[in-house]
Subunit: 428 residues, 2 copies
């Protein structure tokens, strides 16, 4: 019930009606539309890690994970244009694109064990595939109880909204949902399981973003494996929501779950999958998927279409060709080290956490408590210096630094220089 | 519980494992994936109303409404490529694209009356916006009861699956859903309202595809207005699902609901909106949207992004520039007249129904009953003659003819010639 993650702490509604574009926007878009920053950014073009406004000022993008292989990457543009000029239909006709891409994607996955091989279903958004994964898990387990972390965000359909405590507002969690801390303490998991059983829901799934981003970015310690064992013993499955950590962001392989030594029954992915084209997928162990997929004639009109597959394949090409996972590890490590060094003696900065190119920086008040207002101030001060970041976490006080994977060492230098200036202003 | 619409009657699972592409596809995609036609079509390129296989054979597309302005339309390709090469972010930054497009789109809508002006929210699929519309309606009305037609299909999220009786299988309708015939008889509507009230759900919305396509295509008589009046008197709203009839398909203006003389509180749209790019939208009367949009921080990552808006704007350009609504009226009228003439004396063909470029043709057995097997046979025989259609309706016996809006008079001639040959074979 916190409005704490991307949903609110760095977004602003209405206001600035003297800007004719904002005034026009407020007339035609519903009031759910918010803008980032007290002084919104009006961008007109982008390239790599840079975004540009109409005056030609460049902004360093330290926030956007969708343009994962860099804004306007020519290889992705070429692939989309070529396929769009050739054929774009749907999966009820045969096409090599979906088969070739699926084979490549599945080759990045571990052996799922005796439950048979992984299979894929495509959709357009992370919300859609999380919604689907809940249905698949329910059909397989015969149970509906879901365990999520206390600030989880898994999407915006009715079903996934009901398992997303970070949304808050009048939209409450479903009665079949129990929350646990991102530390996944064994006692919490046991209590959630017991309570779901007592209330007749049973245990369908534990669903986690394996870098716990909306909870505030908790990459370590690696506490997932024992929780998964307990959930499985209770009849449930693991849904790894890789929308945030997937496709190499953590610098430790393609998938966040691998860092935790677990092999999920269901894996969902989206945002960075096609560098901004609306592409998402659910990977499922064959035996877990069978019950749903043989019974329900699910069809997604745009999911897995030839253009989506061409875009997604181009993203894989770039991740491999430009060695972006190694870059996430190296540059992300450098970023974390530099920020840690810069803030080591600063009482307003707490933990600096992260994995690869996903960094969380705690902002505290003079008494060492979470300081949402100061975090917001830093985000806006960084925006004034043309460096784009945001916030996350239960208290809205964790700076979220999550740049495109092509972030360079010189981008780190620029980020750290500006961050140093902003922190100096905060201390004054 | 019929599996009757696009979901099943013209789709085939597995099979043909001697085709290496099908075998590979069956390994990597889940078993929910089906293929059209007994002998699936393997397409490699497309243009206008023609699809081509690897041997260069051309297929006449009389089925695909997504590529509404024609396959691979150069204006849409140019718009997407240009924007993809410039900037593709999200709606938390200011951008002219979403404001300009929204103004153009809303200009095609009627005055919504005293409830204030219409506003828009964007997503990626029709399923997402129908899911959203249900939430908006529930928040506004304080009720959850939904009235749908008996073979309705509104999408594939958990919430819209629960209001889609055509899905059938183990996925049942929700307890808050009542079905009525596509004739929307006043007594049926009254009974549904009474039953929803008695069971404590109240009346949230009547949701209809205004051409009743999965019900079997019932464009006339125009029975919607009295049903809407009854639903409104019971506190509910009208959700017009324009995924099928919208964007000029009926030949009578942009929106299917206009033909019925009603002005909906909520309108959803998708498939043809961006000619194959995953773009969808919900248009809502401001007073109906306010409760939800002020409370729930809904955000859709890809929804309304600059590339989606560029694609959608290009589609509007083409609809206007090539006068495709007038084309749908003229060519659709010709198609219907020709098919009516061709089949007038044929006892195996019942009603020929439609509006604009959406035609339904009933297939009957010798006793005048719906004949699903014969309809399936016709669809496959047409495919052998390289004309692509499908089936719909409660009995799976209504041929569904729904070509791109650029269908020409010579396309009609080709369609009618092949259809005549197929009907002659059926009669033998």
């Amino acid at each position: 019930m916190s409005f704490s993650n991307i949903m609110d702490s760095n977004s602003y509604q209405g206001g600035q009606l003297d800007d004719p574009l904002i005034a026009a926007r407020n007339r035609v878009l519903g009031p759910a539309y918010r803008l980032f920053y007290e002084k919104p950014v009006h961008l007109v073009r982008a390239s790599g890690t840079k975004l540009f406004d109409a005056d030609g000022n460049d902004y360093l993008d330290a926030y956007n994970n969708v343009a994962s292989v860099g804004h306007c990457h020519p290889h992705v543009i070429d692939a989309v244009t070529r396929q769009l000029s050739t054929l774009n239909t749907h999966t009820r006709y045969l096409h090599e694109g979906i088969v070739d891409y699926s084979q490549r994607l599945l080759a990045t996955f571990p052996d799922p064990g005796p439950g048979g091989s992984y299979q894929i279903m495509y959709a357009c958004t992370g919300s859609e595939v999380n919604d689907l994964a809940l249905r698949v898990a329910a059909m397989h387990t015969g149970a509906t109880g879901i365990i999520v972390t206390e600030e989880a965000y898994h999407g915006n359909t009715a079903a996934v909204n009901a398992i997303s405590p970070s949304i808050g507002g009048r939209t409450s969690l479903g009665p079949h949902v129990r929350t646990v801390s991102p530390q996944l303490e064994p006692a919490e998991i046991a209590a959630a399981i017991a309570d779901l059983r007592e209330n007749g829901f049973g245990v369908s799934a534990l669903i986690v973003d394996t870098i716990f981003s909306s909870d505030g970015i908790y990459p370590d310690p690696l506490v997932l494996a024992p929780a998964v064992s307990a959930v499985r013993a209770a009849g449930g499955v693991l849904i790894a929501d890789e929308v945030q950590p997937g496709f190499g962001r953590t610098g430790a392989g393609m998938w966040g779950f691998s860092r935790h030594g677990v092999v999920p029954e269901l894996v969902t992915m989206g945002k960075p999958m096609a560098n901004g084209m609306p592409v998402a997928a659910m990977v499922a162990r064959g035996d877990v998927l069978a019950g749903f997929a043989n019974e329900v004639p699910y069809f997604n009109t745009f999911g897995g279409n030839p253009v989506s597959m061409a875009a997604a394949a181009a993203v894989l090409d770039v991740i491999e060709g430009e060695q972006l996972i190694a870059n996430a590890a190296a540059v992300g490590g450098d970023l974390r080290a530099e920020v840690t060094r810069l803030t080591a003696e600063n009482p307003r900065i707490g933990e600096v956490r992260g994995a690869g190119l996903y960094l969380g920086v705690e902002v505290l008040d003079a008494d060492g408590h979470p300081d949402r207002a100061a975090a917001r101030w830093i985000v806006n001060a960084m925006r004034e210096r043309r460096v784009l970041i945001s916030v996350c976490g239960a208290h809205g006080n964790v700076l979220k630094v999550r740049p495109p994977l092509v972030f360079s060492m010189s981008d780190v230098d620029r980020f750290v220089a500006e961050f140093g200036e902003v922190l100096a202003s905060l201390a004054e």
